[in-house]
Amino acid sequence: MDERKAAYIEYAQAVPLAFAIDPDTCIGCGLCEAMCLAKAINYDDTERRTTLSVGALILSPGSQGFDPSGLELLGYGRFSNVVTSEEFERILSASGPYRGHLMRPLDREGPRRIAWIQCVGSRDVNLCGNGYCSSVCCMYAIKEAMIAKEHSHGELDCTVFNIDMRTFGKDYEKYYQRAKDKSGVRFVKSRIHTIDEVRETGDLSIEYVDEGGELKRETFNMVVLSVGLRIPDSLLDLARRLGVEVNKYKFAATHPFSPVSTSRPGIFVSGVFQGPKDIPTSVTEASAAACAAATVLAEARGRDAKSIEMPVEIDVAEEEPRIGVFVCNCGINIGGVVDVPAVAEYAATLPNVVFTDQNLFTCSQDTQDKIKEVIKEKNLNRVVVASCSPRTHEQMFQETLQACGLNKYLFEMANIRNHNSWVHGNDPETATNKAKDLVRMAVARANLLKPLKEKRIPINRRGLVIGGGIAGMNAALGLADQGFEAVIVEKEAQLGGLARELTTTIEGEDIQAYLYELIEKVNQHKMIQVLTESLIVGFTGFKGNFTTEILVGPRMYERKIQHGVVIVATGANEYKPKEYLYGQDPRVMTQIELGKRLEVKGASDLKRVVMIQCVGSRNEENPNCSRVCCQSAVKNALHIKELNPDAEVYILYRDIRTYGLLEDYFTEARRKGVAFFRYHVDNPPVVESAREGVIVTFKDHLLQRDLQVPADLLALSSGMVPEDTEELASILKLPRNEEGYFIEAHVKLRPVDLANEGIFLCGTAHSPKLISETISQALAAASRATTFLSQPEIVLSAVTANVDQDRCAACLICVRACPYDVPRVNEKGASEIDEALCHGCGICAAECPAKAIQLNWYEDEQVLSKVEALLEGVL
C-alpha cells in the first residue's frame, strides 16, 4: 500500500531486526556498502547452494492470502475503497502506511461505515475452486471491526456479511458475542456477490438478500474483503521435489491419526500447509512436528551438539572493585546523538573505574573478544556496558564475563540507547548529560555487586501424564519414544477415555481399531507405566523435581512418584442434555449415541431424522462453541444417507461450523439432500412426543412460517463438558476458566504450556477438539516437555530472596505477601525461602519490617546506590 525503500526492515517485530535490500527497488548504486560503518553489507552476495545431511524434515512453508482481483464483481483493484483484510491490517497498524490512523485509501477520509465481506476465496467451488473454509477469517474480521472501532475518532458502524460465523476456537464464541452485544458490530447473514461504486463519493453500494428473502441495498464508505488462505503453486513444486503428496486443494496430505506426518516417512508438516488454521493451532502443530521429528531422531539426540567449556570462576570477592566501562556507539544509534567519547572520558573519572573504551558495536563478536582481552589484561572484576537494553543483551555480555572466569553477576548495563538517544534524538546535549548520569548510576551499583552462586539441580527425566485417553496416551508415547519414562495415571479401570464411545471419524477411519492399537502400543512400551483406577491426592515440588502421591487400584495403595514434568490430559465428556425430551423419549439421543446406533442397527428403519445443533453450547450456561458437533452431525447425516438414501435428514443449526477441510463434507451432505435450516437462539425448535414420532416445530426463514416435522429419531448435537477437575486443579494449583477448561500460559505463544513451570496441557482438557487435533496437541505437549527434560540439569537464577534467620521475627508478612506462596516458617521459628521456588520479584524484601530479607542482585544498598548517585552529579 506504500512504497518500500530499497533498504528495509521486513516489519517492526522481525527477528533479527536487521535491514535487507529489496533487489526489485535497489538501483545498485552501492552507496550503502560504502557508508556502512560496521561493514555489514556484502553487496555482491549471491544465492548459494548448501547441502545438509538431516534425519528428518519439517515443512512449515505457510500460505498466501487469496488474491481477489479475479473476482471482478467485487471490484477489488477497480474501486479504491475496496481493500483486502491483509491491507486493512496494515491500515490499522502503527507501522502501516497511515500510521494506524483509520482512513480509506481514496481520499484519506475517516470512514463512518465499513463492511466486511466474508468467504472471499473460501467456501466457493464455483468462482475460485476453493471449496474449503479458511478457518481464520471470521475471527480476524471481528478483530478488525473491534480495532477499527477503537481507532475511529467518531462513531463507526461495522457490518460483517457472512454465511456462518465460525468462531469455533477456545473462547472465540465469547469474543464474537462481545463484539455483537458490547461493541455493536452488526452481523448480517448473506453472501455478497457484487459491489458497486458510487462515482461521486467513492462509497460502495452493496445489494443483498437478507434472511427473510428481502432484497436490500446499503452504502458503505469502505469495504474489506475477508480473503482466505491458499497454498501458492510454488509449494506444489516443492512438494513434488520432496515426494510429498498433496490433496486436491494443494494442502499436504495427512492421515487423521498421524496429523503431522506427510506421505513420505521422515517428512513432517505443520501450519497452514497442513490445512487452514489459526496461530494457536499452528504453534501447537509446530511443536507436534518437532516431537514427531525428534522421535525419528531419538537415538541421535545431542550427538552433533557442541558444548561450551567454561573456565573455573576466579574468586574476586575480597578484591577492591576494578571496573571497566564500555560505551557503545551502536553505529549511529547512540553515537549520532550522544557524545560517546565525552561519556567514556567522564566514566574514567568515576570511583574504581580503571578502564574505559568506546566501541562501534559493543555486541559484535570482535568487540566481545576485545572485552575478554581487556578483562584479563587489566584484571577487571566488574564490567559496565553502556549501550542498549539489558532485556535483550544482558545475557550475552554475562556470557562474555563467564568466558573470562568472572561471575556473571558482576555486570551492569546502562541503557543509553532505548532510554536515551532514541527518545531524545533532537537534544544531543541533554542526551549526553543523561548518558553520563546513567553511566554514573551503573558504576555506583557495579561497585557494590557481589558474585552470586547459581544453584544447579538435576532433572528427574520421568513424565507424569494425567489421563489415559487419546491425548494422554499419545503424549506418553511422545515422551517414551524419545527415550523418556512416562507414567500414565488414569482414574477409570481402562485406558481410552471418551474415544471408547466413538465409532468412526468423518473421513471414515475406524476409531476403535486405532484405539485398540494405541492401547497395545502403550501397554507394551517398556518406558511407559500405566496406573488405572488411580487418584492423585498430593503434589509437591517444582519443575524438574515433582513428587505426586497417588492412590492406586480398588484397594487404594498409596504410591509416590517422582517426576520432572506433568502433562495434563484429563479430557472431556459429551454433555448430557436437559433439553428436548432427552432421557424422556427413547427416540431422542445424542450424536454419539446415534453414531453407535447406526453402527449396530443401521438406518433402514429410519424414514426421517431431525438433528438440533448447539445443544448445551453457545448458551448462557456454556457460552462456548463445542467445535466438534457440526461435523458430528454432518458425519452421522452422511452415514444415514449412505445406509438409507431415502431417509430424510433435517439439520437445525445456528451457524454451520465445518471449518477447514471439513467444509467438503458439509457440501457433500447438501448434495446428498440433507436439509439445513437455520434457527435463532431466541426462537429455538420445539419438541413434542407423539405416537407417530418426535414432533419438531421450527421456523423456516425463507418461507417465513413454522414447519412441523415428525421424526423417527431426534439427534441432539450435544456439546462438550470438561471432566470434573476441580479437586485436581486445586491439588496442582492449576488455573481453569469458568467452564472448567485449563488455561494455557499464553493463547498464541505458549498454547500447550501451563503458567506453572514444568506442567503442560493437551486434548479436550484444554478445549473441545477433534481426534486429529487432540493427537497434534498431545505430541506438542510431549515436545515441550522433552525440550525441558533433555537438559541434564536446571540452573536456577541467583536472583532470589534470602532470609537472615537471626533477624526474622516470624511476623508472617512475607508469607502473606508472596504471590507464589514460597516463604515458610521453619521449625526454628524463622521464615525460609526455597530458592528453587522463588521467582525473585522481591516483594518480601520490600515488605519485611525487620529488613531481614534481601533480594540478591537487588539488595537495598545496590538499588539505593543508583538513587544516591544523582547527588554526585551536577544537579
Binding site: 537494553s389 532485556r391 532514541w422 520490600a846
Partner: protein, 76 residues
C-alpha cells in the same frame, strides 16, 4: 541538608529530575519499546530496573525525595 537544592525562582525554568523504578517485565520493556518506536519525550527521567515493582521499598521513595530527586515514578 544533603541534596537540598537552591530554590528556583522562576518555575518556568524548573526542570525536575525524576527517578523511575521500572518493572523488568512491563514498564521497563515499555520504555525500551518507546525507544524502538522513537517516541520523543522530555529527558528528565532516569530509570532504575527492578524485577518487580513490588521490590520498591517505600523507603527507596522517601530516600530518593530526601536526596534531591524531584519526583519518583513507580511503574509496573
Amino acid at each position: 541538608m544533603a541534596g537540598e537544592r537552591e530554590v528556583v525562582d522562576n518555575m518556568e525554568q524548573f526542570e525536575p529530575k525524576i527517578l523511575a523504578f521500572l518493572c523488568n517485565w512491563c514498564a521497563y520493556a515499555a520504555a525500551d519499546l518507546a525507544g524502538v518506536s522513537r517516541l520523543q519525550y522530555p529527558s528528565n527521567l532516569r530509570s532504575v530496573r527492578v524485577m518487580c515493582s513490588a521490590r520498591v521499598d517505600p523507603v527507596f521513595v522517601i530516600k530518593a525525595l530526601k536526596d534531591g530527586w524531584d519526583g519518583v515514578l513507580v511503574s509496573g
